[in-house]
């Protein structure tokens, strides 16, 4: 339990069903020791159930949980070298902060807890509040107590269940950095459950995007963002423009697509699934990677870029950026985020424009993927 290096968390074929409802479909997942791992998904996608199965608070219907090579599936929570930061902290209201933090040590029969408790409270910067009761603390402070109470035990794995969900936006950003700092400092494996894609991308080394009880994609945040493998991931992580297009020509390097009158190019390695000439696929492009030029300057757009003509229907000024919605005949509605560096006064609703982007930034799926997946997530804040 005091082994700080820990080991991998390995879930093999783990699933959970409640009656006829399947919360988690059989799932294989390995979290490498010492990593910061995020389970990301909308509420009800099975991410918290997965976390609770690692903690031992739910019994998996099938499958096994291994911690550092040891099968712990049959162990009750109090025998697992795992600690949890609960969603609403679950601090003991009848104990002061000091005793809350010392709880785990005392249960393991450790008598002299003072030094460790003081050090841990120092780590989360709560030293002076040791004798307060939880209800006398602010949300952010309670969050730190919950973290200290778990960390002091040096678990092999620290499980965090939406730990920042109850905090306001500014405090949440601050705690994200702090959690990352603490994780680096203590080197414990963190498994973090969140529905906030920015939170997951800002903190985690590896993100698993879950949807309807399944892992859709797993990888480094930048990989997930740049190379989404499913439409769900493309839409859940940030915003994507998905354009239905027909493959006109396919080579090993490149796919030539036609969408209406527009001709688009897509590097073959960035298209998921085999696409042959004549297939219909979805081509995706992130809004911030699309450039916008007034129709009068269409000539200045460099050759070799994907280009689509359209008409601005909406422009929202966001401070750092402006978010445009452009209606195109070839590709439907396209969202475009432009940095407000040099604003072109002509780019107002009603203006005819040319959208263009580098083919390198285009990604594609074969069309059995449905493009509405994941769009219930509000578009990412800012750019």
């Amino acid at each position: 339990m005091t082994d700080t290096t820990g080991g991998d968390v390995r879930l093999s074929g783990i699933s959970k069903t409640y009656g006829s409802f399947t919360a988690v479909h059989p799932l294989d997942l390995t979290v490498p020791a010492g990593s910061f791992f995020a389970l990301l998904g909308a509420s009800g996608c099975g991410k918290t159930t997965t976390l609770r199965m690692i903690a031992g608070l739910e019994n998996p219907t099938t499958g096994t949980v291994e911690l550092g090579g040891r099968d712990v599936t049959a162990l009750p929570p109090h025998k697992r070298p795992v600690n949890t930061v609960f969603q609403n902290y679950a601090l003991f209201p009848h104990l002061d902060i000091y005793e809350n933090v010392a709880f785990g040590l005392r249960r393991r029969g450790i008598k002299s807890v003072k030094k460790q408790v003081d050090e841990t409270l120092e780590l989360v910067e709560l030293g002076p509040l040791a004798r307060r009761r939880p209800h006398q603390l602010s949300g952010g402070q309670q969050q730190r107590v919950a973290l200290a109470r778990a960390l002091i035990n040096h678990p092999q794995v620290l499980l965090l269940d939406e730990p920042l969900g109850a905090l306001d936006l500014k405090l949440r950003r601050q705690m994200q950095l702090e959690l990352k700092r603490i994780q680096t400092e203590v080197g414990i494996t963190f498994v973090h459950v969140t529905h906030d894609q920015e939170e997951a991308m800002a903190m985690a080394d590896t993100v698993a995007v879950m949807n309807a009880g399944r892992v859709e994609q797993l990888g480094r945040p930048a990989d997930l963002y740049e190379n989404p493998e499913t439409t769900f991931v493309a839409n859940f992580l940030g915003t994507s423009n998905l354009i239905e297009a027909e493959v006109a020509e396919a080579t090993d390097e490149e796919l030539l697509l036609t969408a209406g009158e527009a001709k688009l190019r897509l590097p073959a390695r960035r298209c998921r699934g085999a696409a042959r000439a004549g297939d219909t696929i979805l081509a995706g492009i992130r809004p911030e990677k699309v450039s916008l030029a007034h129709a009068d300057e269409a000539g200045s757009v460099p050759e070799g870029r994907n280009r689509v003509q359209g008409n601005i229907t909406d422009a929202g000024f966001m401070g750092v950026s402006t978010q445009y919605v452009v209606e195109t005949r070839a590709a439907g509605r396209i969202a475009v985020y432009e940095q407000n560096i040099e604003r072109d006064g002509r780019l107002v609703p009603g203006a005819d424009v040319v959208l263009h982007w580098s083919p390198e930034n285009t990604f594609g799926f074969d069309a059995d993927a449905r493009s509405i997946h994941g769009v219930q997530q509000p578009a990412g804040e800012g750019v």
């Binding site: 031992g56 608070l57 109090h78 609960f86 003991f92 709880f103 249960r107 778990a150």
Partner: protein, 311 residues
């Protein structure tokens, strides 16, 4: 800089800001109007009888000649010296019954609060179901249940349980009726709902995630109970024990119906002094001594259990 220019300290000594709504000179009287019926009730049915009883307790005289206030405080001392065994018995029986209520009621309240699921409301109704029948009838029913030659006595005799209780001193002569055990059982039965309901209320308020958190922090199930659940249910324990102990120590029905002359409690003495012997001063004095004793016991208990929230 001249000292004369120092800012006047008036701002520090400024009068406190007027209370909200005070500017118009009108106070909101609604709370007082709402309190009025309760206060009247207490005055007529609590304060006035108390004063009347207090004056009775220091009167002398007889029924034929009439009673007059003579400030005869010796009545208190006489009552105490004559009836102290009944006082001790009351505290002992009520205390034992309260403890039994706690032992029986806690697991029940715990089960209803955490394990009952959709049966929870039904079980709560069952807890208060005895109240649909009169206290007197229910205690008379116990008389039948515990009667000599009844199945309960037979079974307990066959199992030699009664030999054990006799050895402890709770029963005698292979019977249950007219023994201390019968009175204590009656008290336990009659005041059990008063224990269960506050216990349930305080257990039900405990966030089940605290149990998960304790388990997650290496507490075994029993340790979780000892370190988290029980401390958090203390307000219910204190309220329940008070609600059971206070009426039980003044009760006389159970001792009257289930006990013999050797099990008389102070309530029986007060009842017979008032209604049979017609010695009103002694009865009033006994009532006041009982009240003072209960207040003292409750005061010490609350201080010991460290719970100010429930009073």
């Amino acid at each position: 800089m001249k000292t004369a220019e120092a800012p006047p300290p008036a701002s520090a000594a400024a009068p406190p800001p007027p209370a909200p709504g005070g500017a118009t000179g009108r106070r909101n009287l609604t709370p007082y109007w709402l309190l009025l019926p309760g206060i009247l009730w207490l005055l007529v049915f609590f304060a006035a009888p108390m004063v009347y009883q207090a004056s009775t307790s220091v009167q002398t005289g007889s029924l034929e000649e009439g009673f007059r206030v003579t400030w005869h405080f010796a009545t208190y001392w006489d009552a105490l010296t004559e009836y102290y065994p009944q006082f001790l018995r009351s505290v002992l029986y009520a205390g034992t019954a309260t403890l039994l209520c706690l032992l029986v009621g806690y697991p029940l309240a715990y089960a209803i609060a955490f394990r009952a699921g959709r049966w929870r409301n039904l079980l709560l109704v069952l807890v208060i179901a005895p109240f649909f029948t009169s206290f007197l009838i229910r205690t008379l029913a116990w008389k039948t249940i515990l009667a000599d030659g009844g199945p309960v006595v037979e079974v307990l005799n066959a199992l030699h349980v009664i030999d054990v209780t006799t050895w402890i001193g709770l029963t005698e002569g292979h019977r249950l009726l007219a023994t201390p055990l019968a009175v204590i059982c009656g008290l336990t039965y009659n005041f059990l709902p008063f224990m269960i309901l506050p216990l349930y209320a305080s257990l039900e308020r405990i966030d089940p995630r605290l149990h998960e958190a304790a388990g997650d922090l290496y507490a075994k199930p029993f340790t979780t109970f000892r370190k988290v659940t029980f401390p958090l249910s203390m307000p219910g324990v204190v309220a329940g024990t008070l609600l059971a102990f206070i009426p039980a120590s003044g009760d006389y029905i159970n001792a009257e119906l289930l006990g013999s002359t050797d099990q008389k409690m102070v309530g029986n003495v007060i009842q017979s002094q008032f209604l049979r012997v017609l010695d009103y001063p002694t009865a009033a004095a006994l009532s006041f001594i009982l009240m003072a004793a209960i207040l003292a016991i409750v005061g010490v208990y609350i201080r010991k259990s460290g719970t100010e929230e429930i009073v």
